[in-house]
Symmetry: C2
Subunit: 397 residues, 2 copies
């Protein structure tokens, strides 16, 4: 697996059960996955020689991020390395503009969008035309390299802010695109896996709650989601994975609009934050499933094992809490013996994902109850402060 | 963790979630745990220097087997190493005679037994007296070092066989004891964990099914077990762990007699085969719990997540199947996407435990259904032959 982050770390846990050991290409021995696997190749995902060293003798090569240059992926494939997902698929997760164009061609619901690459003056003019048509209710996005809210600018009607962001990006050689801001009710994620044989398997569609531009909480399954809408989301994801030739996991992030329609937001072709709930709440976790797909095993059952599962991320606080992470874990375990904590072995930095936890509902427990505990636990682990959980009216206007 | 076997391997999986990495003392880099953890000390559990090297800088030292000499444990403790469970407790899991005497003194129900250590002629005479009194319905056991049916001789009324086994053992310097053969209905296991603070937590009592002297199948919870009997078993285990000062997991193997009484058979103070079902079927797995106890975290919830969970061991076959383990795994996954397989990365040898699998019942699924699938899956994985599962009338007279 290329990348030594938490996704590789948790994939190694699943590899162990399958009688395997995950080799990781990591930048340093202290990265989350490199710290727990004995098979570490130190190097950079930007360096083809390092990638080749990592691939040597491996059955297949896969990823914990989208950062490997497309040319390198093609070079690996040309030398016979089994790259999963293949570059022909992964390029759509790497390049938001390419993804938008392909999805639009396939007739999938996407927001209105405009390409801002190429000649800067022409792109600026295109932005002004597009923005005006949308009353500047638009989102600017870096075509490549954004994640967890980085590389995304929400333009809330402010033309000057949009143009300033464009000019700054153009000055720094960041290629942008612009999209219509969808009048959404909430965000969903449809996670599926696809094997080289074309077997597909979909987990229940979940609701994702974003804070500061990154995933904070996942409700599984998405509460109150119309079953037909859920099925439509799963079918869209399965059909798209088939169309693009995805191998491995794919998360299709969706907006559910105020009218109940679905609009595709982003794609990820790897284990994904919106699938962490499966580690404790589904028959097959996303990490085992990704390995099954990449290693060409039949896929595992995707049913949830409970009516309600809530995942909450543990994030680095602005101010490091007085208590150490280890002390906070002690207190959490004493208060909530049912909490399933997953720590990544990362230093705490503001808003950095350093772990997550799952609360799996027991029969008769309500979503509000389960979510309250998950949010309270994650807030404690992040900030070292006990609160009453979350505000059920958060986000209401 | 001293020992590089599958118990350490699976403990490492749980350590990862707690933000840790398990150091193992292993005999070779290819042992199950050494193959998946980057923190391996190569050496022998019989060598005090190796034990000291493994303990250096570790928060605590624990075990995946009972094989460390007691004197070494005491020497480690004398040097300030935090040994969990401590030698004062672990000696009872290492020495069956010591365990029997202690349990009898504490008033716990044990079979009639006789010490056969010391002078060979006197011990032989004691055996003849004890055997005759029991109509030779006795079991001979090596006081130390037996496991998975090794070091146990079932004497089914055959005096000559008993004396032959005694003479062979005495010639080989194996110290024996003899026990009454209990007229049992079935075997149970009461698994608990105890923290250094004395917190105790008990999983549901399970039924264990032995074949060829070793655990083959576990039914969780033990079907049809009288709730008062189950509670009595849990209380016995918790009270004993407290009395002995156990830290970590303890499995109390029990006979349920034909009269519905309980008799203590064996003790293990570590993760145990009878607790493998917890990996997929309980809120907290035995491996996470053992770590929590040994590292002095509050213990996790022990509830089963399903009404029925069946664990079945994958054993090496007498004749290696034509299909490789990997091919068999492919076929199993295709047939049973719900099977949770745990492979240990071990070579297959006759009757050697090379993995296990859990089937977690879904609402409405019967024990017979779940067990049939688990046994069929394990038989396939062991032998490469599909059968109809197991004979529900097995063991009936």
């Amino acid at each position: 697996m290329i990348g030594g982050g938490q996704l590789a770390r948790m994939t190694h846990q699943s590899a162990i059960a399958l009688g395997q050991c995950l080799r990781v290409l990591a930048g340093s021995a202290s990265e989350p996955a490199a710290a727990v696997s004995p098979d570490v190749v130190l190097g950079s995902h930007d360096d083809l020689d390092d990638l080749l060293r990592a691939a040597e003798g491996a059955v297949a090569l896969t990823f914990d991020h989208e950062g490997v240059p497309l040319d390198h992926l093609r070079a690996l494939e040309a030398r016979g390395v089994v790259v999963r997902p293949p570059s022909a698929a992964l390029q759509y997760a790497q390049d938001k503009m390419l993804m938008r164009e392909r999805l639009a061609k396939l007739g999938l619901p996407v927001p209105a969008f405009v390409d801002l690459s190429g000649d800067v003056a022409a792109a600026r003019a295109a932005l002004i035309e597009f923005g005006a048509a949308q009353d500047w209710q638009i989102v600017l996005k870096a075509v490549r390299g954004g994640y967890d809210g980085r590389g995304v600018w929400l333009i809330d009607g402010d033309e000057a802010a949009a143009l300033a962001a464009f000019d700054a990006a153009a000055g720094g050689d960041t290629v942008l695109m612009a999209e219509q801001k969808v009048p959404m009710a909430r965000e969903l994620s449809a996670m599926i896996a696809r094997s080289p044989h074309g077997q597909g398997a979909a987990w229940p569609v979940v609701e994702t709650i974003q804070r500061k531009g990154q995933c904070a909480v996942v409700l599984a399954p998405a509460p109150g989601l119309d079953p037909e809408t859920a099925q439509r989301a799963q079918q869209m994801a399965l059909a798209l994975a088939d169309e693009l030739g995805v191998v491995g996991n794919m998360a299709m992030e969706l907006f559910e609009t105020v009218d109940g329609d679905l609009v595709v937001n982003e794609l990820a072709m790897r284990p994904h934050n919106s699938g962490h709930w499966t580690m404790d709440g589904a028959v097959t976790s996303q990490f085992e499933q990704h390995l099954r797909a990449v290693l060409d095993y039949p896929l595992g059952a995707t049913a949830a094992t409970s009516d309600v599962v809530v995942m909450a991320n543990i994030l680095g606080a602005e101010q490091a809490p007085a208590m150490s992470m280890d002390e906070r874990l002690h207190h959490l375990m004493a208060r909530m013996p049912e909490a399933k904590v997953h720590l990544y072995g990362k230093d705490e930095r503001p808003d950095r994902k350093v772990g997550h936890l799952n609360i799996v509902g027991r029969p008769g427990q309500s979503l509000d109850d389960v979510r309250e505990r998950a949010e309270r636990a994650a807030h404690w682990m992040s900030h070292g402060v006990w609160t009453d959980g979350w505000d059920p009216h958060e986000g209401e206007n």
